[in-house]
Assembly symmetry: C2
Homo-oligomer: 205 residues x 2
DNA sequence: GTCTATACGCTGATAGAC
DNA sequence: GTCTATCAGCGTATAGAC
């Protein structure tokens, strides 16, 4: 693993974000110190502080691509005319995002620090709500709500599951989508719900 | 495993474990300091250290009932004769455990510290593997593995979802079970798969 | 961009009085 | 069971040299 040291052109900033993502996913955000990040990069803490003014800004930089991806998925899905179309597009977009950013997605879903961020930050909260509405419709009953909750958590959990790490992306995406649709009581996906390409892939673990 | 300390003498210990669970669930284990626990109890850190020799032992005490519950579920499920019976019993037991220990279940599933514990501790790892085998059978294909992974993560996610916090336990248990069975491509539950009563309920937040 | 050096609060943890 | 007092180490963060 040890994230592509060979990339000479790649800025120090990019390498820092990559190792931070890896450490955040493994130890959690609170469980990751700037010292750990610096050690992994082979530099000192001060060098880290040269790139980012605070740990919080590192967190922000790490999750930025995922937020951008989620925003793009929500935008695209909301543009559909039918409710089923919006739901299908959101689901396909989510599955695709998870596959291409496996660890990042799980971190977004499970880290308590992120949960606090979503709780407090209006923009993030709004994004989270938009996705929920896309999946469940405006006034979901308890059954739909439970299914949507399980799909969200299930997608994120599958994304990091080490037993699934070896699955090719295409297979993984198809299985995630099919299983999620079954959970939500939707029939097999139609071809129309093509994934979108918003955010870059996770740097290799 | 410090479940039933002598009613009078164990009062402080029980309260400590209860607030620790609440704080762990909210901020994660790494994000919870002994100072936070002490403050919530209205005592000093030294008083906390009088009850437990280390933070690690507090973590152990918090997750003990869940581990005991999981062990009981696995034992009961493995006693069934048919594979479908084992799978059904495991699923029903899991759903029941989650409902009665909502926050604890989610913490077990998502905290990086717990993940490390499971990775390193042979007993915990074995328990986790037993549950997986009960749900998927001995040699699962990729599709079954994805479904099982999503069910596990989904159950835990639903357990803490604030949108579902108001659902009565009976409703929640039934919906979790039905949705999980659908995800795993199993028909409606038969009456035989009755839940087991291993661990106490979460202490209120 | 990276380094050394440093500040200072908070961390988990210990010792001993009440 | 709880307290005060104290510890070494690590946490984030800053200043200034190279």
């Amino acid at each position: 693993m040890a994230a592509q040291q060979g990339r000479r052109t790649g800025g120090a900033r990019q390498r820092l974000v990559a190792v931070a993502l890896d450490l955040f996913a493994r130890h959690g955000i609170s469980g990751t110190s700037l010292q750990m990040i610096a050690d992994r990069l082979g530099v000192t803490k001060a060098a880290v502080y040269h790139q980012f003014p605070s740990k919080d800004e590192i967190v922000q930089a790490v999750i930025a691509p995922a937020l951008q991806g989620l925003g793009a998925v929500a935008d695209a899905a909301e543009a559909r005319e039918s409710r089923a179309g919006r739901r299908d597009a959101a689901l396909a977009g989510l599955a695709d995002l998870i596959v291409r950013n496996r660890r990042l997605a799980a971190m977004l879903y499970s880290d308590p620090v992120i949960a606090g961020l979503i709780r407090d930050h209006p923009v993030l909260r709004g994004l989270s709500d938009r996705i929920t509405v896309l999946l469940t419709g405006p006034d979901p009953d308890a059954e739909t709500l439970v299914a949507a909750s399980m799909v969200g958590g299930g997608l994120a959990a599958a994304g990091v599951d080490p037993r699934l790490a070896g699955l090719p992306d295409d297979t993984m995406r198809a299985l995630l989508l099919a299983t999620a649709r079954r959970t939500l009581r939707i029939g097999p996906a139609r071809r129309s719900a093509a994934p979108i390409r918003p955010a870059g892939r996770d740097t290799a673990a």
